[in-house]
């Protein structure tokens, strides 16, 4: 794969220059400069993404794959160009393996309904893990309920790591698919996805990786991972909402029936029969989110320019600093202390409910997520109803961490 390296890895990461690319960060919340520590819920987007979408709407918009007129051709070029760049970035063999969806959730639902459901019976099994986001649990429950299949769950340990030694024991000739997150949204755990794919493949079982949290933090090479499906969302990777990607191996996608029907995904329609378009359009019924795809392409370009390896290295330093500073607060309990961890810190404060923490730190201008993070089984495992979660992106700096720590001290003062 060829990428234009515009960065020098020897240079320190210039976070202040990066922050200037994100206009939303430059504002006051309740009279204090915004500290945005909720990127795992939704990241912010750089000017380059906003400009790309604005340019598209101002100059090039028409429906794609429809007209012979110039604007339709430009829109198609922009849309398919974004698909090409995404394919190249995650090292897909072909752009036809990149299906645009509304997000990770829709991508997983597509695989559950189009790949899994036709082959599920009442003895079939689907393997997921205790760490999953609800979006990688509920779609499987729905198809399991429709087919009588059952769901088996790989447990986690006290650090919030998968009990990988137990994984192989969950696989058998009834296993239809393994669906696992690459990086946990609730805890930041980086899962041993290479091992999971290798072991599953030894048993002839395909693997779907929920890559929603992996894309903003780590390099993704779907051929090196050898995963069968990989799903991610635009808005978590500094692109727009309403767009996401399902990567699938071409031979699997070819065999799968369309999931939604409509325009765009057909070759010909009569009342007796329709024939479907080839990949990727077979899975893209209706007018797609064109501007959002363009924005996602621009977000990927932005990350390529910054260099994901440098981003990851910087975020690890920031995570270490955050963990060290937060550990000085009396009564803090870290939820999720995996040895391999992305820049997410989930925690509780003794005697103070996370919801109260969230409100009080917000009054100090600090945005964190509080709640169950759409991962109730993770909360159940740790015996907490909710946690507070600070999730860091490459546009955060040490000052943001200091402000969070100060806001948590203020929280403790309020509760005296």
């Amino acid at each position: 794969m060829t990428q234009v390296a515009t960065t020098d890895r020897a240079l320190p990461f210039d976070v202040e220059a990066v922050r200037a690319d994100f206009p939303v960060l430059d504002q006051q919340i309740h009279g204090k400069p915004l500290v945005y520590l909720d990127s795992a819920a939704s990241a912010q987007r750089p000017v380059a993404v906003l400009d790309a979408m604005d340019r598209y709407y101002r100059n090039n918009h028409a429906n794609v794959h429809r007209g012979v007129h110039t604007l339709s051709q430009r829109a198609t070029d922009d849309y398919e160009g974004a698909r090409q760049r995404i394919a190249q970035y995650i090292n897909a063999r072909s752009a036809c393996e990149i299906i645009f969806t509304r997000g990770t959730t829709e991508a997983i639902n597509l695989v559950a309904n189009s790949y899994a459901r036709p082959q599920l019976g009442n003895t079939s099994e689907i393997v997921i893990t205790q760490l999953e986001h609800h979006s990688n649990i509920v779609p499987w429950q729905l198809v399991a309920a429709q087919t009588g299949a059952s769901i088996r769950v790989l447990p986690i340990n006290d650090r919030g790591e998968l009990e990988i030694d137990q994984f192989e024991g969950l696989l058998n000739d009834r296993t239809c698919i393994v669906a696992v997150n690459h990086i946990s949204n609730a805890l930041g755990t980086i899962n041993p996805v290479n091992d999971i794919v290798r072991i599953a493949h030894q048993h002839g079982v395909p693997v779907l990786l929920d890559g929603a949290q992996a894309m903003p933090h780590t390099a993704v090479d779907v051929q090196a991972l050898d995963c069968d499906f990989f799903a991610f969302s635009g808005h978590k990777v500094f692109g727009p909402t309403g767009i996401g990607v399902l990567y699938g191996k071409e031979n699997l996608l070819e065999q799968m029936p369309p999931w939604q029907g409509g325009g765009e995904m057909i070759l010909s329609v009569t009342f007796e029969n329709s024939t479907y378009a080839g990949l990727p359009h077979k899975f893209e019924a209706g007018t797609p989110a064109i501007a959002e795809a363009v924005g996602l392409g621009a977000a990927i370009d932005y990350i390529v320019a910054l260099d994901i390896e440098r981003i990851a290295a910087y975020e690890q330093q920031l995570l270490d600093y955050a963990t060290e500073r937060l550990a000085t607060i009396d009564g803090i309990r870290f939820i999720g202390t995996a040895r391999e961890k992305a820049s997410v810190v989930s925690f509780t404060l003794e005697g103070i409910h996370p919801h109260d923490i969230g409100t009080i730190v917000d009054s100090e201008g600090v945005a964190i997520r509080t709640g169950h993070h759409c991962a109730m089984p993770v909360m159940d495992f740790f015996g907490v109803p909710a946690t507070a979660r600070a999730s860091l992106a490459f546009y955060n700096n040490r000052d943001d961490i200091d402000r969070l720590v100060d806001a948590l001290h203020k929280t403790k003062q309020v509760f005296g």
Binding site: H353, G371, H372, V414
Partner: protein, 145 residues
């Protein structure tokens, strides 16, 4: 936005030492209130003698606002008739939604009105009250609006 308006001393006190924080078993009525947004979950127990509420209690976990609201609710409801309890539910709903300027009549309960500046927290304050109403209606689960 004034934090001190939300976390008034009476709220913090009821959060620290919730009153009637226990189970009543068996009891005439009980119902669960659950806020999936933040995971707050509580159960309200009501013991009735005819039309009189002779005992009311709650248990569960939640934020300071939902715990304090539950605790203050149990204090306010005990000894009331079912009709009076329903009337107070309406008063609290009016207070929290800002529909009525009824703080003066509500005494200590008026402190719950501090949530009005914090729209994401209004559900925390009314959770226990919805659970109370569900219990009185004979429902198992509170329906919140």
């Amino acid at each position: 936005m004034d934090l001190q308006d939300l976390y008034r001393e009476v709220i913090l006190d009821h959060n620290r030492s919730p009153r009637n924080f226990r189970r009543i078993e068996p009891c005439s009525h009980s119902a669960e209130g659950f806020n999936p947004l933040c995971g707050d979950k509580l159960r309200v127990y009501v013991e009735k003698d005819g039309d009189a509420i002779t005992d009311v209690a709650f248990e569960g976990s939640g934020c300071a606002i939902s715990v304090a609201s539950s605790s203050m609710m149990t204090e306010a409801i005990k000894g009331k008739t079912v009709q009076q309890a329903r009337a107070l539910f309406d008063e609290i709903r009016a207070l929290l939604s800002g529909e009525a300027d009824n703080e003066a009549e509500l005494g200590k309960l008026a402190a719950l009105g501090g949530v009005r500046q914090f729209p994401s927290r209004i559900k925390c304050a009314n959770l226990a009250w919805h659970a109370l109403r569900a219990a009185l209606d004979g429902d198992q689960q509170a329906k919140t609006e």
